[in-house]
């Protein structure tokens, strides 16, 4: 869906940006012991769950121990990847100056090497958020997630590809920076990706060795049960991460943009794109923690390097600001948001879901500059 905002003047957009900058400054000035305390509690819970999960699987021949072990290990991987890994790797806790939580060095318990994630996610996705053709998180080079992507016959498999991606999500994320679609189409060369592939092989090897060789062998006769248990924990984490992440940018009402729109946007315009390109999920405190606070995708995109556990309190102010500027604030329950994502994945598999411009035989027609076009009455025209 193209940018729907037509009622703000450039000056109003700047003022909107200044309010968010002010919120950011106030938050940064307050960072300190409270944030370390929170992070340490989550890390302690994650390491404790991991230890408990691995330990219980030594008794995996007892069904309750196996179920408990898999549950603990699943939760451990979810916390590690989402509330700890994703957020620490954004540099949210760099202000602690603690080598253990240094954004540019942190590694997480998943197949994707941290450095590649920092490039594909922190840089590409957070810089070019929802710009069709630039933000590779729109469909990950596999799925058709917006009508602005031209339909091709292979998109008929959209729901199947999505189900496969969800199941093998950690490997999909690992391959993300490789841009396999560009590689297969000959737009990039295999030799250019040798370094990426070597780093992937190292991380994949280390993760596989731990989960599928060493821990199973250590549990002796229970080895097959441990193997299956570890695979189940990875699967649970894959499905959960896929669900949360796909609710961040793909529910109905989330806007996409063109490079031209973004090229000269002001700071306020950047904030506006982040707001319009993201969607929240409502829920309780535990749900927010388990989602890595990506349930506050809007706040995360406005302030990607502020500690995520502060997003719920920031959200109160962000919503209030949005209301005053008459801006949409896309939020809903998990079932509602994910339901709308699933419906979109299925709908966009079909050929008659082209964007209006595409139907007219043209590429999406952008405005000629990032600043919203203003008509003679001072109203901002829709970008498309």
């Amino acid at each position: 869906m193209p940018n729907p905002i037509t009622h703000l003047t450039p000056e109003q957009i700047d003022a909107f940006g200044e309010e968010l900058d002010d919120l950011r400054r106030r938050t940064v000035a307050d960072l300190g012991e409270r944030d370390r305390g929170y992070l340490e509690r989550v890390v302690r819970a994650q390491r404790g769950l991991e230890f408990a999960g691995r330990a219980l699987l030594f008794a995996g021949f007892l069904p309750p121990a196996w179920v408990g072990g898999v549950a603990a290990l699943s939760l451990s991987k979810i916390l590690d990847n989402m509330e700890i890994g994703h957020n620490v790797m954004h540099g949210q806790y760099d202000f602690l100056q603690d080598p253990a939580f240094e954004g540019r060095a942190f590694e997480w318990d998943t197949a994707c090497p941290g450095d590649q994630w920092r490039h594909s996610h922190n840089y590409r996705h957070h810089t070019f958020t929802n710009i069709v053709g630039e933000d590779r998180d729109i469909g990950y080079g596999v799925l058709r997630m917006t009508p602005e992507q031209p339909w091709k016959p292979s998109d008929l498999g959209n729901p199947i590809y999505a189900a496969l991606l969800a199941t093998f999500f950690q490997y999909g994320v690992m391959l993300h920076d490789l841009e396999a679609d560009n590689l297969l189409a000959g737009r990039t060369s295999w030799s250019d990706t040798a370094e990426l592939r070597a780093a992937m092989a190292r991380k994949l090897g280390s993760q596989t060795l731990k989960d599928y060789v060493l821990f199973p062998l250590l549990t002796g006769p229970s080895a097959p049960l441990t193997f299956v248990g570890n695979a189940t924990a990875n699967l649970v984490r894959n499905l959960w991460a896929f669900t949360i992440i796909f609710c961040g940018h793909f529910p109905d009402g989330v806007a996409t943009f063109t490079q031209e729109e973004a090229d000269q946007e002001s700071r306020g315009g950047w904030y506006l794109r982040q707001l319009l390109g993201s969607a929240n999920i409502s829920g309780g405190p535990l749900f927010h923690v388990l989602s890595g606070n990506l349930s506050h995708q809007i706040e995360h995109h406005l302030f990607p390097d502020l500690p995520a556990h502060r997003y719920p309190e920031l959200a109160v102010e962000v919503r209030e600001i949005c209301e005053r500027y008459g801006l949409p604030y896309n939020t809903g329950g998990l079932a509602e948001q994910f339901g709308s994502v699933v419906a979109k994945i299925c709908r966009l598999a079909l050929p008659w879901t082209k964007a209006p411009e595409a139907e007219a035989g043209a590429v999406p027609a952008p405005s000629t500059s990032a600043a919203p076009r203003v008509d003679t009455s001072g109203r901002v025209l829709a970008a498309a």
Binding site: E33, G37, V43, D109, S206, Q207
Partner: protein, 376 residues
């Protein structure tokens, strides 16, 4: 690999359980975080790959200072007299790293380390330690670093002159203690500058140590209390004459405030004896005003941002809101070392220019000479 004390690194940590925890198998089982990230949650001193030390005593000898006795865990590799460590201290949840010289003798039987910290009015870490350090507190330690050390015993024929000012006493005190422990027989003169007698840390011990050395002598220069000292006023030719009548036969170890260091260097250089000085810089080096520091543009290649140079590369990028890892901020610890991908920078400590592309530079002491790109 052999550590500074000559003991193989593989001997650390000690004990079967600790060796198992440090093994490659456990490393692979705890990947990607590593075993220390688990052990430290139980007790920070249990880490097997990093070094932590517990404060076992905190004594305030003189106003505004604290002397800490630290017991490092078994990953500590020892040190040589005169070396320093980077100490990581948590203040309000944030870890701050600062370099401190080790003041104790490397030969202490109980293996404890000693640091004396002087509260710097602008120093968050030093004030925190002086005000709040207490037994039981755990700090992070780097390995021992620094080249300001005593020559090996076989190479100590020179008259050893140890000159310090204020809290610069710590590295040379460590040397004096080591010389006593090693039974050094040759001439040793310990020269120390302070405001008054009350400001001299370790006064009684200095007297005892210099008395214990067959060739030992203590000379105090007290700026605000000249009658109680042996030397009057700032360092001068007369002071040098009081130390020795044969400056060419001296080996000078020097640590203190910049004016003292400059005066000693100047006097010895005037005698053609600049090579007799071994010194530890104290405080950040002054920026050479002749450099065109304002004219370069620093480009951070990872984020694609460019900012006009203001002071060092580190100061420039920090002014732009970028926070690279930093440690000592005076070109010693190497924490902020980052690859410079293009351009020329001058190292303020060594005075050397880095011209090559893709050369690691220390951001905190490198000033851009023209446009520079760094891997940040």
């Amino acid at each position: 690999m052999v550590d500074v004390m000559g003991a193989p690194v593989a001997d650390r940590p000690r004990g079967v359980l600790r060796r198992v925890l440090a093994s490659e198998l456990v490393d692979r089982l705890t990947a990607p975080h590593g075993v220390d990230r688990y052990l430290e949650l139980v007790d920070p001193r249990w880490v097997v790959r990093e070094t932590r030390a517990e404060v076992v005593a905190a004594v305030r000898q003189t106003p505004g200072t604290v002397t800490l006795t630290l017991r490092p865990n078994d990953t500590w590799g020892g040190f040589r007299a005169g070396q320093h460590v980077v100490v990581g201290v948590e203040v309000d949840g944030i870890v701050h790293e600062r370099c401190f010289s080790l003041a104790g003798s490397p030969h202490r039987a109980d293996g404890t380390l000693e640091l004396t910290v002087k509260a710097n009015p602008a120093g968050r870490v030093s004030r925190h330690l002086v005000d709040h350090a207490r037994p039981g507190m755990v700090v992070r330690l780097s390995e021992a670093r620094g080249d300001l050390t005593l020559p090996p015993p076989a190479d100590r024929g020179d008259h050893l002159v140890l000159i310090s000012g204020g809290s610069g006493i710590t590295p040379v005190l460590s040397m004096l203690r080591a010389l006593v422990d090693e039974g050094h027989q040759g001439p040793v003169t310990f020269v120390h500058y302070a405001w008054t007698l009350a400001d001299v840390c370790y006064l009684d011990e200095l007297r005892a140590l210099t008395a214990a050395l067959p060739g030992g002598r203590l000379l105090l220069g007290l700026t605000d209390q000249p009658e109680a000292g042996d030397l009057v006023g700032p360092f001068s030719v007369e002071h040098l004459a009081a130390v020795t009548d044969d400056p060419a036969g001296c080996r000078v170890h020097l640590c203190g405030p910049a004016p003292l260091m400059a005066a000693v260097e100047e006097h010895l250089a005037g005698l053609g004896l600049a090579d007799r000085i071994h010194l530890e810089r104290f405080g950040p080096p002054p920026i050479d005003p002749s450099l065109d520091t304002g004219q370069g543009v620093v480009t951070m290649v990872r984020s694609g941002r460019s900012v006009a140079g203001t002071g060092t590369v580190l100061e420039t990028v920090e002014a732009a809101g970028v926070r690279p890892a930093t440690g000592c901020r005076r070109g010693i610890c190497g924490t902020c070392t980052t690859t410079k991908t293009s351009g020329v920078v001058r190292n303020l400590v060594t005075g050397q220019d880095s011209h090559a592309d893709a050369e690691p530079i220390r951001l905190c002491v490198s000033v851009p000479c023209g446009d520079v790109a760094v891997d940040l």
